[in-house]
Amino acid sequence: MRARRLPLLLSLLLAACLNCAAAGLHWIRDRVELAVDNTVEVVHANFPYRNDGSSPVRVLVARPSCDCLVAGRSAFTVAPGASGSLEVSLRILGQVGALRKELWVATDAPGDVPERLELDVTVSERVAVRPRMLFWTRGESSEPKLVSVSVSPAGAARLVGVRGPASGFVVATQPGKEGGTWQLRIRPSDTRERRSAVATLEFAGVDGVPSHVDVYLVVR
């Protein structure tokens, strides 16, 4: 009786072991959501994982299709029972709104299928200064040019002053028609010579709002 049960027991044991090996890597989080201001240039996110199997798992991270998303590691091995996290960095270059980026990872566990990791970032623009550079060509009329400033929401911060520029440029600031907006009228004293300067807009407000934004002034 015992001898007849032995193959069955061995089969069950073997099946259990195969399942253990195939359990492999488990992504505890495969989707991360973040909200940032667009003054942040690089966003970091972590995707935690755990190896639920009884064998080491080799993880391969596919290169993202966008250069803006970089994984901290391209390949690594996770011991049985071990856990960790994969860090990714996303570079934001001025986009505002909802961004979704994806990263595919695969393992060498038998029967495993590639997994998609998703990073959702909502980028807001609390302080908008446009443009950040004013230029005049030599000999051009030294008419003032405008810089528009807006803060969203309106009460988040206020423009408290403009530091600089050094002599050679004149800056006049006035509040805009809507709350949380300002206009700067900037002109060079003359455009006979090449010159450049920086006007630093200083803001006071709640946490997270940049304290200053530079505007570059150029006569070339």
Binding site: S65, C66, R91, L93, G94, R130, M133, D214, R220
Partner: protein
Amino acid sequence: MIRGVIIILLAAMLPALASVALRWERLHGAEAPVVGITYREASRGAVLWLDARPAEDFRRGHVAGAISIADEGWDRTLAVVARRWTPGTRIVVYCAAGCDLAREAAVRLRGDTGLPDIYVLEGGWAAAAGEGAR
């Protein structure tokens, strides 16, 4: 006869004039897309190269004289553009082929500076490297 020749010449110029008008609108329209440029065409005159790739890729190889946006950060990149730009200089942004980052950087740069002649390199770094750009 001469009148006929003039008419033919004017007719031949029409497509070119239309192309210029369209390009003008694309460059200076409020929501105009950023125009692509080849490495050879960009290299014909004064050019300021901006590299939008990750810093490690930049260090492995880049167009001579290019600025790494990742290394500098956006504010310092603007400061460098303000220091190095002169009238007539083309600003060309590139990243890896098929990547959107160069276009996004070019759009942002245009909004931040109002400068004309901002382009995206067609074919990205691969195209530049193929032309011996290192």
